[in-house]
Structure formats: structure tokens, C-alpha cells
């Protein structure tokens, strides 16, 4: 874990004191709401339907136990005892009071947390592979680069008033768990033919009103040059991005209109003007940052007899192992996914008690580290296989042992109209309905990998465009309707889903998912996931199943 130094800590304390003063001035009437709004948003404070919402940054989704316990304390003291993990790996608290905000920022700063980069037209919280430093798939630790980019972009004066918000993801594995191609900039660490480490730089991806898959603008960027290259991209975007129309201001529109090649040429020309020595970090500094992420592992046998025999005795643990425990780079260790998708619960929600239970387990069994995934789950990245039965038991006691990672009930859902001022329809009850319909774990496993993603409006916080099944809430004359898309993917084979047909009323959605799954089970060939079958058959059989009655 990266540790803040004295300078960082003083900076956070100053920032918190500044906001305390701003809140006091707003309450005293010295600042109007129009003057205050941009100030509170720069500290992650939104006003939603029922209360203020505070979005706390969790840089590249990495937390230590001290931070998670403090988040639990804040949720319990200043909110209603729970938080909501988001697709940007942040934590949202939905019942915040303005008068408490200065104390909350102080409490966050105590553990090196804050709410910068969670709002506004700046570079937002940088995300990275939640299995960083734990998976054998990766060619390097993406957290090193995510941290460097975080430091470079945080409150960078040149990039604080971009045409629109800007999201960056860093992955280092062939299997992309960051949805890099749906980001303004996706960085994929790869080794060139000569074995030299570099970034494939993808730009112009994004979801929302106009979804685009990011396009490669440079195949192999020397890793040490990443900051100057990002600076060049941001400068081109700052100069050429549209500011006249908010809906067309994201970099995806610029890249689409210019064409990726022309955009890349602009970036390269801009990059050539930058003195890299003034921007790119020297190797010594990179090594200093890298050292924070070094983790040592004990020598263990690859197969754990304790784990193997426990699985034999406990079918629940065996199921958990099949779905939630993944290969670790160190022999005898596993990566344990903690599902925040218990059947019937709100996707991504985690109570203060659950946060503390996870922190306790991480402290004892996972080298004190917890990760957040963009699919709204948590990860214990370094668990010895011998300890998986104990971790499972601890999770089960906390109501966190749902063995459904990547299955039909592992649904992404934005807060939707239940909380959000922008939403047109609710997302959470739809997710709950679907999860209940597939609550039989045998059925869910038989269906296999199926990513359902739900957004309550076209802004697509629930990533519906890239769901194997995407669900978009729309307002039809005051009623909640839901438009289904099929065939999306946010992974390395990223694709925007295609609209299935006319939107359905809320009560028909879960049944329609059932019908789609039926078609898949009927049509699938050996080893095909839902997405594979869809790609082979196309929309037609699925469309017929849902809209047959209409014809």
C-alpha cells in the first residue's frame, strides 16, 4: 500500500480546514449555492433526492484495514450505518448532512482518505485491476502506475477544468477486469516482442448517452513516459474537446469525430513538444513508489490439504471455492472475491458491521489489504489456501459468503431513482427481482457466467451498454420502463450491446431475463457462455422469446 508522507498529510489537513471554512461561509450566507456548489462537488458532496451524498475516493480500489474500519466508523457515525461501493470503486454515503462534512473530511484525512477526484470535470479516481499484485496473469503491478497517475493528476491546475470528466483505467493482464476500453483512456501494460514493458494506450472509450469502445492510439508506449503522454492527451482534449454542449464534451466524441488516427497524430505532435524530463518520473522515484506495493509470501505447498478436505466436507465451501476463489501468483494462496450481491440485497451495499468483519478477516488472513472491484464487489487479495475455510466461515457469519461471482445474480446496479437526482427509473428493485428469480445456486451455476448491468438513466453508471444483458431504465409518460440490450462486454473483447426491442414495464423484466436464459440454455453449445451463444446466434432467437406475443 502506498503511504502518505508528511507533505501529503499536511495537504489533506489544509484541504479539510479550507472546506470547513467554506461550509461555515455557506451556512452564514456569505456564499450563495451557485458559488458553493462547485466547492462542495470538488469534495465529493452531491445533493440528491433525500439528502447529501458523499462520494469518497478509493484510489485504484485499494484499501488497508485501518481505512476500511474508518469508513465503517464514518458510515455509522454520520450516515445510516452502511455505504454503497460504485463502479468507479468509490464508496458513496447516501444520507450525509452538510453540517457534518468538515468532521467527516477530518476523519477521512486521519487515514489518508479524501473525496478529491470524485466529481467535477477533472481526472477522476484512477481504477486498476482488483487482482493487482496477486494474479500471475499480470506483466507488472498496475497499482504503481495508477498511483503515479493519481499523484500527477490530483488537483493538477491545467486539468481541473477539462471540457468534461475524465476517467483512466490501468490493467496489466490479458484478461481485463477494469473495463479499460470503456474509459476515456485505458492503459494496458504489455511486453513488446523485445520483452520491454510498455503501455497500449486506448482513448475515446466511454458509456453514457453515446457509448464508444476505446481505440488504440499507440501500441507500445515506454512505461516511463506515461505521464508526459497523458499530459499530451489531456492537452489535446483540453484544446479541441467541445465545451458548447455537455453531451458532446467527452473525449469519446472528439476521437469519434476526428478519427482515432488523426487524434493520435495530434497527441504525438503535442507529446513531441513536451520536455519529458520535466514531467516523467525518474527511475528512482518510480522505484520508491513501487516499493510500497511489494508483498512477500511464505513458501507453501501448491495444494492445501486443509482446504481440499474442508471442501469435501462442506458443499457450501466447495461452491464458494468454485466461484469466488481464484488462482494466486504465489503457490498455496488464493484471491478471494467477497460478493456484495447477496440475494435480495442492494448490489454494492455494505453495512458498517460488514466492513468491520471484512477488515478483521483482511487483517488476519489477507495481509491487511482489501480491494474494490468495478463490479461492486470486494476482494481479499492474498489468502493462504489453508485459511480459506476460516475466511469463508467469517464471511458467512457476516452475510457475505454469496458464491455468485460472475453469475446471473452478480448484478451491477446504480442507485437509480431510489437515490439519484438524475435517474429516470429505479435500478435496485430490478436487480433484486432478478437475483431472487435465480436464487437457486445450482441453477445459477448451470447458467454460468452472465453479466447483467442495470442503469437507471442514460448516463449509464450501471454500465448497461456493456452488460451481457444490459438494462436501461426509462421514463415513459411517468412510468418506469426498461430497455434491454444484449451482447455487450466490458472485458478485453469489449462491445456495446444491441437493443433487443421496445422497453418493458418493470414487472416484466425479471421474467424476460428468465426467458432469455431459457433461450441460451436451449441454444448453447459445449462450453459456450451466454455471450458466446448470443454472438453465434445473434439477436433473433432472444427477440422471438421476449416479443413473440406481440406478433
Amino acid at each position: 500500500m502506498y503511504r502518505y508522507d508528511t507533505l501529503d498529510k499536511e495537504f489533506l489537513a489544509d484541504r479539510s480546514a479550507e472546506f470547513r471554512h467554506q461550509v461555515a461561509r455557506r451556512l452564514a450566507g456569505e456564499l450563495t449555492e451557485d458559488q458553493f456548489k462547485p466547492l462542495r462537488l470538488k469534495n465529493g458532496l452531491y445533493l440528491q433526492l433525500h439528502a447529501y451524498m458523499l462520494r469518497i475516493a478509493i484510489p485504484y480500489g485499494t484499501m488497508d484495514v485501518r481505512q476500511l474500519r474508518q469508513l465503517a466508523h464514518i458510515a455509522r457515525t454520520y450516515d445510516k450505518g452502511y455505504g454503497h461501493f460504485t463502479t468507479r470503486t468509490n464508496l458513496q454515503l447516501h444520507w450525509i448532512k452538510l453540517r457534518d462534512m468538515p468532521d467527516i473530511l477530518d476523519a477521512l484525512a486521519e487515514v489518508d482518505l479524501h473525496a478529491m477526484q470524485t466529481s467535477g470535470d477533472c481526472v477522476r479516481n484512477v481504477t486498476a485491476d482488483p487482482r493487482a499484485g496477486a494474479t500471475a496473469e499480470e506483466v507488472d503491478d498496475p497499482r504503481v502506475w495508477a498511483e503515479v497517475i493519481r499523484q500527477f493528476t490530483t488537483l493538477h491546475p491545467e486539468f481541473s477544468y477539462l471540457p468534461r470528466k475524465f476517467k483512466i483505467a490501468v490493467t496489466a493482464s490479458p484478461h481485463d477486469r477494469t473495463a479499460a476500453k470503456t474509459h476515456d483512456v485505458g492503459l494496458a501494460l504489455k511486453r513488446g516482442r523485445d520483452g520491454v514493458l510498455g503501455f497500449e494506450v486506448m482513448a475515446g472509450g466511454g458509456l453514457g448517452r453515446s457509448p464508444y469502445i476505446g481505440q488504440t492510439i499507440r501500441e507500445h508506449l515506454p512505461v516511463g513516459r506515461v505521464l508526459s503522454y497523458i499530459q499530451a492527451i489531456l492537452r489535446v482534449y483540453n484544446r479541441l474537446g467541445r465545451r458548447d454542449n455537455k453531451n458532446k464534451a467527452r473525449i469519446k466524441i472528439l476521437v469519434a469525430q476526428m478519427g482515432a488516427e488523426a487524434f493520435a497524430r495530434e497527441v504525438e505532435a503535442e507529446w513531441a513538444l513536451i520536455d519529458g524530463s520535466q514531467v516523467d518520473l525518474p527511475d528512482t522515484e518510480l522505484a520508491r513508489v513501487r516499493a510500497f506495493f511489494a508483498t512477500s509470501f511464505e513458501t507453501r505447498p501448491a495444494i492445501s490439504s486443509i482446504f481440499e478436505s474442508a471442501k469435501q466436507e462442506d458443499a457450501g465451501l466447495a461452491r464458494f471455492a468454485r466461484n469466488n476463489v481464484h488462482a494466486h501468483k504465489a503457490a498455496g494462496y488464493g484471491i478471494v472475491d467477497v460478493s456484495l450481491k447477496a440475494i435480495g440485497e442492494t448490489p454494492g451495499d455494505c453495512s458498517a458491521e460488514q466492513m468491520e468483519a471484512i477488515a478483521d478477516l483482511a487483517e488476519r488472513y489477507s495481509k491487511g489489504e482489501v480491494r474494490v472491484t468495478h463490479e461492486q464487489n470486494l476482494v481479499l487479495p492474498h489468502v493462504a489456501l489453508d485459511d480459506v475455510p476460516a475466511v469463508y466461515a467469517g464471511l458467512k457469519a457476516a452475510g457475505l459468503a454469496s458464491a455468485n461471482i460472475n453469475l446471473v445474480s452478480d448484478i451491477i446496479a446504480c442507485p437509480g431513482l431510489d437515490y439519484c437526482a438524475l435517474a429516470n427509473a429505479r435500478a435496485i428493485p430490478i436487480a433484486q427481482d432478478i437475483a431472487k428469480r435465480f436464487s437457486d445456486p445450482d441453477l445459477a451455476e448451470r447458467v454460468g457466467e452472465l453479466k447483467i448491468k442495470i442503469s437507471g438513466c442514460i448516463n449509464a453508471c450501471g454500465h448497461h451498454h456493456v452488460g451481457h444483458i444490459g438494462i436501461l431504465g426509462v421514463d415513459k409518460k411517468g412510468e418506469e420502463y426498461y430497455q434491454l440490450t444484449l451482447g455487450g462486454s466490458g472485458a478485453e473483447d469489449a462491445e456495446i450491446g444491441k437493443i433487443l426491442g421496445p422497453a418493458l414495464p418493470a414487472e416484466r423484466v425479471a421474467g424476460a431475463i428468465d426467458d432469455l436464459v431459457e433461450v441460451y440454455l436451449r441454444e448453447r453449445r459445449d462450453g459456450e457462455r451466454f455471450l458466446d451463444t448470443y454472438r453465434r446466434t445473434g439477436l433473433q432467437p432472444f427477440k422471438e422469446a421476449i416479443y413473440a406475443e406481440a406478433h
Binding site: 452564514a28 450566507g29 450563495t32 449555492e33 433526492l49 433525500h50 466529481s119 431510489d418
Partner: protein, 119 residues
């Protein structure tokens, strides 16, 4: 019929205008049958920027059980989120909450709230 609503500045609580003051329960809100007093109340509300944020008028319909906001979004604001019935104003329960929960009025929401959030 219309009512005036806002969020209270200091804590974000949903509030409604009632004869010169802000109340937390929709059942206690003042209902305006005429435009002039509604707009006068809105002007009063807007002149209280240290008490509330962005007051706006909402449509209210008369149901069999009593008055309720016409738009689902506004009923949600008057009740609380449907995924956590223990949170928000709905936690109080009783007749006044039931009126809002049972209402099936289907008006489009006003744009009022969308102005509050900037990403």
C-alpha cells in the same frame, strides 16, 4: 394543485413549505390551488438561501385517500428509497405515508432536481 418543496441546506432533508415555514412531512405541506399564492411562496422560499436549496413547485393530485405528489420521483422524495423502507420519511408509517405509497399517479417529474447535480 401544487406544493413547494426543497432540501434543507444544513442536512439535505426534504422539506415542504407550510404557511411561512418549512416542514418535513408532505402531509403537513401547504397545498396551493391557485398560481399566485404558489408563486409567492416560491419567491419567499428562494429568498431563504441559508435555510433551503433550490425550492421548486411540484404538482399534487387528489387521490381517494388524500393528496399526493403527481410524479413518482416526488413521491419517492416524500417517502424515502424503496430498497430500504426503514430509511427516510416512510419509516414513520401510518395513514399519511400509506397515502403516498398507494398512489399510482403517473405524471412526468419536473426537471427541478436534475439541476442540483453536476457530474
Amino acid at each position: 394543485m401544487r406544493a413547494l418543496t426543497a432540501n434543507r441546506l444544513i442536512d439535505g432533508e426534504v422539506v415542504f413549505w407550510a404557511k411561512g415555514r418549512w416542514v418535513e412531512r408532505f402531509a403537513d405541506a401547504e397545498l396551493f390551488g391557485e398560481d399566485a399564492p404558489a408563486e409567492a411562496a416560491e419567491a419567499h422560499g428562494k429568498a431563504q438561501p441559508t435555510l433551503v436549496v433550490e425550492p421548486y413547485l411540484i404538482e399534487v393530485v387528489e387521490t381517494d385517500e388524500g393528496p399526493a405528489p403527481a410524479a413518482y420521483r416526488e413521491r419517492l422524495r416524500a417517502l424515502g428509497p424503496t430498497n430500504t423502507p426503514q430509511h427516510g420519511k416512510q419509516a414513520e408509517g401510518g395513514h399519511d405515508i400509506a397515502v403516498l405509497s398507494h398512489s399510482t399517479a403517473r405524471a412526468r417529474a419536473s426537471g427541478g432536481r436534475t439541476k442540483l447535480i453536476k457530474r
